[in-house]
Symmetry: C2
Subunit: 446 residues, 2 copies
């Protein structure tokens, strides 16, 4: 039988040199989330179909599970499917553990989600999503909205050192209030108008105008909308301009919330270069109700938003019967990393974690023994060290280190053994130094 | 509509305090794997059905993926299924990248696998499997077999500090050679006899004897088999006894391999308390051909093997057309952790990673501002610090810290602000100290 060994279409596979970067990123993300007090939760990748569909899942994209052998007869498994985001599992988790949880509940999660979309470039059917959410009980302070901005900044400073980025802030209430009170958009048009505005970056100004006109919004009002969305300047300047606009309660509430978040960012000492107010940010998802975030790489606008999220007032009422407010962000790690490599934003890393390869020059017992000893000694000094065990010519051993980009080779032969000093060869420079056994760990550490 | 919010049957969910342990374990496992030069590879959770079935997958247990909306018409997705182990994906990966890989290829993976088994205690339909494998091209030195033992020991010293464990070593060739040459077992009986022996621990000596008799193996030979399997003593004593047994080539080869592995363990300076030769270890899986490992917790025999694996001579010939030898181990993390908690082998950990909760005593701007500043300052000093933002009574704020087992609360009020010193309260002892702003990070670090 001939097997098709290629990856199933639409499922990601990073090369070992890319995976090394992915592992470093995961480490950094975990650290930042933990340092900010977020609690990791790992729910199964599988949920009940009806729960996924009940909270916004698209039946065309959800993968249901069926055992191969006898689908018709299989009742014990029917009705389970792979999660399509991290929010439904969070909502179910909170619903299940409502009484044990301590609120505000700060939850972090990193893991794969699945969407059966049509396979195309940049779209994945399995991708890692890294989310944090703060869930309140009854109420939730805007301090959390501000802190989330701080976390985004800390994350991208670590993930993409030296790469410019900016968090774009808005508040849904400002847009909605403006639509209602200034533009006179009717309730049933709010959602279509929001969707059109959300597409601005994708379809351009002219297309947005055409679409709004098709909804019978007149030109003058469209001009007013663009005037709002194009407000520029520092956060303080924009807020000042917003405070002058005459609109209703919702709008004013939005401006006040945004102003409070900005004030807190200033109090936290966050550098103003890292964030700005952008009144065009609408976020597609219905369920955001206040602060919304997007994050752009300033030198790579083609990448789109690399971290988005916002404030919502109802996490899980369909499951809990109670409205729980929350604020959160999500990084689509798989898509982001694949773009980072595509645009050369970050260099790939050596696949091997080894700092040193321990090789023997002579196939005699005392030399082999010493190599095992020294390898173990290095590792117990927390140096990533690997023994090369195969009986090959020396050139082959060095070639292994060179191909895997292992920076150093520790050479052990009968001469070295006799001298009690071992050769360390730098693979990058070819430089060789002799180091005594009891100095080896220190040599690599310092 | 009423939703069933419970976890789908058979899918694991750890509590936040258990998940904190799981996260620490994952960190340790990654560190040990990396320190030994293993390269992380993360293939999709989804593979082609025919590939899973082609390499030992049980169609009764494999979950195939079907999109909900229109299963019949769905051709683009048909034929994909969730992986049931980490070995088939490795085999496919190596087959795909045979020409780019550097051999020996040391691959590490940590991630979930899926089996649609009947739901029962201790069995999971989704569980994390942590595997390392060293894959050779053509040949692979026995040094790798020894190093794997070193890694198991390092792992369990870190995962379960103070808990006794022992790696049990055997070599399949010894058992097979003994079956053939001493017991005269025919080729087609080899596999049934191996399975019976593998069940020894589960079904007991008498049942094994009955089953072997049913295969028409006479009592005297069964006695000889038990004499072999019960050989005890130090590795050197057992090897000495084995060398005296008259058997064929395969047996002798097995003894020589096992002896070499033990010799290398001694050369690596591995403490003999951590491993022993146990000739009863057979390992169920067909594909092991040499060294086999199991690992037992000596104080908790009921837990069974916590880390198993071995040497095989054919990773993926059905995919590559070439035999690639390898040696590897696997930890069933989900099952192991659930047993660790069940038997109280390890204490659960505080759910929150926060070392300190920053709280304000007065709702005035300068105090709020200072709290934000100090929170940010602590975090940039790599202290896990969390600001409490909600407007609640002080008692509620301390209760939050206490419930989440956050060890310290940093208290900021107008008095503290005026003094430039802030109160740190230990939640465990109730002790309070005043610390100046510029000494805060150091206080937590040292």
């Amino acid at each position: 039988m001939k097997f098709n060994i290629s990856n199933p279409s639409g499922f990601p596979e990073f090369s070992p040199r890319q995976e090394a970067v992915r592992q470093q990123w995961l480490e950094q993300i975990r650290q930042v989330f933990r340092q900010n007090g977020f609690i990791f939760i790992d729910t199964p990748l599988v949920e009940r179909e009806e729960n996924l569909l009940g909270k916004g899942g698209n039946p065309k994209e959800i993968y249901a599970l069926k055992r191969i052998h006898d689908e018709a007869a299989d009742t014990s498994h029917s009705g389970n499917a792979l999660r399509f985001d991290q929010t439904v599992p969070l909502a179910l988790y909170v619903a299940r553990h409502r009484n044990e949880l301590v609120f505000p509940f700060r939850r972090a999660v990193i893991g794969p989600v699945f969407r059966g979309e049509r396979a195309q470039k940049g779209r994945f059917r399995q991708f890692d999503q890294c989310d944090i959410d703060v869930i309140g009980s009854g109420s939730l302070s805007l301090g959390n909205d501000a802190q989330v901005v701080g976390i985004i900044i800390e994350l991208f400073q670590r993930l993409l050192p030296g790469v410019g980025f900016q968090v774009q802030l808005n508040n849904r209430k400002i847009l909605l209030g403006f639509f209602q009170d200034v533009l006179g958009v009717t309730d049933d048009q709010i959602k279509p108008v929001l969707d059109i505005v959300d597409d601005l970056e994708k379809i351009g100004r002219d297309a947005v105008i055409d679409k709004l006109k098709a909804l019978e919004i007149d030109s003058e009002k469209i001009e007013q909308l663009f005037a709002l969305m194009n407000l520029g300047g520092t956060p303080s300047e924009i807020l000042e301009a917003l405070e002058k606009i005459e609109a209703g309660e919702l709008f004013v509430e939005g401006v006040s919330e945004l102003s409070e978040v900005v004030q807190m960012l200033q109090n936290m000492g966050v550098d103003e270069g890292y964030y700005k107010i952008d009144l065009r940010i609408a976020r597609g998802l219905d369920y955001y109700t206040g602060t919304v975030y997007e994050t752009k790489l300033t030198d790579y606008p083609q990448v789109g938003s690399v971290c988005s999220g916002g404030r919502y007032e109802d996490l899980a009422a369909i499951f809990t019967g109670q409205k729980l407010p929350g604020v959160g962000i999500s990084i689509g790690l798989t898509r982001l990393l694949s773009q980072v490599f595509e645009h050369g934003i970050l260099a790939e890393q050596p696949a091997s974690p080894s700092q040193v390869l321990v090789v023997t020059m002579d196939e005699v017992e005392p030399v082999q023994k010493k190599a095992l000893e020294l390898g173990a000694q290095l590792r117990s000094g927390r140096i990533a060290a690997e023994n090369y065990f195969e009986s090959k010519k020396p050139a082959k051993k060095f070639e292994y280190a060179q191909k895997l980009e292992i920076p150093y080779v520790l050479v052990i032969g009968e001469n070295e053994l006799a001298a009690g000093e071992y050769q360390i060869k730098s693979m990058a420079t070819g430089e060789k130094v002799m180091v005594a056994e009891d100095k080896l760990v220190d040599w690599f550490l310092f």
